[in-house]
C-alpha cells in the first residue's frame, strides 16, 4: 500500500502509518491528517506534531502519552479534540512515527 504526493511515493502499513519516518514532510502530514478526520492542521496541531517528531528523533520512540500532554500543555481531552483517533493512532500517524508494539 502507498500514496503519492508530487510524484513521490510513500509506502504505508496496513493501518496507514508511513513505513519510512525519514521521508516525512509537511505535505505528508497534511495528507495523513485527512485520513484521520483532521481537515486542517492548525498551529495547535503542529505544536503536537513537531513535539512528537523531535522526541522521536532524539529517543527513537514516541513519548509517553502523559509526557506529551505535560510538555505540550494540552490535556489528553484536548489531544483527542485535535486528533479524534487519539495520540497514538492519530497524532503519531500524522507525525510519521511508527506504530508502537508490545503490551500497549
Amino acid at each position: 500500500m502507498s500514496f503519492e504526493i508530487d510524484g513521490k511515493v510513500f509506502e504505508v502499513d496496513e493501518d496507514g502509518f508511513i513505513v519510512e519516518p525519514d521521508l516525512w514532510n509537511e505535505a505528508v502530514a497534511a495528507y495523513l491528517a485527512k485520513t484521520e478526520e483532521v481537515e486542517e492542521l492548525t498551529e495547535d496541531h503542529w505544536k503536537v506534531v513537531n513535539y512528537l517528531r523531535n522526541y522521536y528523533f532524539e529517543y527513537g520512540i514516541a513519548p509517553m502519552v502523559r509526557k506529551l500532554c505535560k510538555d505540550t500543555g494540552y490535556p489528553l481531552k484536548d489531544i483527542y479534540e485535535l486528533f479524534p483517533s487519539g495520540p497514538a493512532k492519530g497524532a503519531c500517524k500524522i507525525a510519521g512515527l511508527p506504530k508502537p508494539t508490545g503490551c500497549v
Binding site: D13, E14, D15, Y59, G60, I61, M64, V65, R66, K67, K70, K89, P100, T101, G102, C103, V104
Partner: protein
Amino acid sequence: MASTPKPEELAKISYNPPERDWMDTKPQFRSGTWCYASKPDSLKSLGLPNPRKWSPSDEDWKLPENWKEIIFEGLRERLHKFRSLRLFMDICVRCGACADKCHFYLGTGDPKNMPVLRAELLRSVYRKDFTMAGKILGKFAGARELTEDVIKEWFYYFFQCTECRRCSLFCPYGIDTAEITIIGRELLNLIGCNIDWITSPAANCYRTGNHLGIQPHALVDMIDFCVDDIKEVTGIKIEPTINRKGAEILFIAPSGDVFADPGTYTMMGYLMLFHELGLDYTLSTYASEGGNFGLFNSHEMMKRLNSKMYAEAERLGAKWILGGECGHMWRVIHQYMDTMNGPAGFMEQPVSPVTGTRFENAKSTKMVHITEFTSDLIKHNAIKLDSSRNDQLRVTFHDSCNVSRAMGLIEEPRYILNHVCNNFFEMPENTIKEETFCCGSGSGLNTDEFMEMRMAGGLPRANAVRHVHDKHGVNLLSCICAIDRAVLPSLMDYWVPGVAVSGVHELVGNALVMRGEKERTLDLRMQSFE
C-alpha cells in the same frame, strides 16, 4: 482497519453449528478476526524463515516450495521431543468438557473455537500421517490431508486462542490445549506464517531489550518522568538506579509499565515502595522486559529472549531478581526458565532484606514475584498503609491467566488489595482464581486490527465485571499483567463503561505512607483523593 460492530450486535451470538461437516467448512478471513502478517524486517532480524510481504487475506500465501515437507518434519521432530504432545494427540476422547470453557467459543459461537475442535485441526493431520488407523481408514478415522487450506485454518484458529489454559482445567485427561496451540504456532512459524504483533515485539526485544523498542536513553527519560510525578504527588524526590553493578536485587518489569498508561502508574507504585524500603536494587536497560513474546513464537525464541534476565543478573552481580506485574513472564519463569537457561548458581536463594523471609519457592529460579514480596512486607507490618486513600475506588480483581493458572499465585494479590483498599469485591467464583476468564487479548493478540475478536473473546470476563459493577458499584478492575492493563480499558469501555483499570501496585502507591511525604491530596493519576 474494520470498524468494530456495536456491543448489541456482537452480543447476538449464534451457537448453531454450520450445516456442513467441519472439515468442509473454511474460515472466512473477515477483517477484525485475524491479525496482520509479520513484517519481513522483523523476521529477518530474528533469523526466521520465509520473510516476505503477504497478507492472510491474500489467496496466495507465498509458502516455501517444500512447505509440506517442512511441516511434517517439524511435527515429527516435536512429537519426538515433547512426549506431552504425543499424549495430547492420542488421548482425547472428545468428551466435550472443554467446549464451553473457552472464552472465544462463548463469545463467538464458532465451533472451531471449542478447544476440542481446535486441537482436532492439528490432530487430524497427525492421524493421517503418524497413526496406522488414520493411514488406512483416512477420513473415517478423523484423518485428513495436509493442504494449504489446512494451513490457513491453523493460522486463523491458532491465532484465535490466547493460550489461557482455562479449558485444560476442565479436561479429565489434563490435555493442555495451550500447548497444542503453541506447537501449532511453532509449525506455522517454520513456513513464515506468523503475526506481526508477535514477531515485531520479539524482534524489538532481541535488538533493544524490550518489546516496545525503548532504547536506554529513552528508558531513562521515562523513568525520570515517573520520578517527577512522584515528587509532585508526595514531595519526595526518589533516585532509582539503572544498570548499577553490585546492587543486591535486579528489578525487571514489563516494558508496558514504563511506557503505557495505566501501567505507568503501577511503575510509580513500584518505585515509591522501593524508595520507602531503602531497597538496594537496580533497573536494567538490557533486561528491560519482563514479558516474552518469544513464548508466542517458539520454544527457541522464548529461550533466547528469556536468557537476558540471568545474563544481566550475572553481569551486574545481583543476588536475586524481583519481577513486576507481568502475566506470561511468570509462565516462562515458573515453567521453563530454570531448565531452559538455569541453573542460576551465581545468585542466591532470595531473602527479603526487609523481613528476612526466605522465599523457598524461588530457590531454584531466584526470582520473586512482586506480590509475594509486598504481601510479605504487609504481613510483617514492614510498611505503613493508609487504605482510606483508595476509598473513592470500589475494586475487583482480574486474575491474569498465566499468573493464576500457570503459576498458582492466587492469594498474594488479594492479600495486598485487602490491605490497601477498603472496598474490595470478588467476581463470581467460576470466573476468578484458577477459573479466571481471559482478557480476550493475551498471547500476543492484543492488537487493534483484531478488535472484534478481542471484544467477543473478552465478553465472559466483561460479564463478570458487569455483575460486580451492577451489584457493588465496582469502578476499578485491578490486575497484575501488562497486557491486561493495555487491553482491559478498551474491553471495559466497550462492555462495562465506567470501570477503569489499574495494577495492584498503583493502589499500593496510593496507600503507602512515606517518611517525609507532604500532605497527600492527589492519587498517582493526579486526581484528588476526594
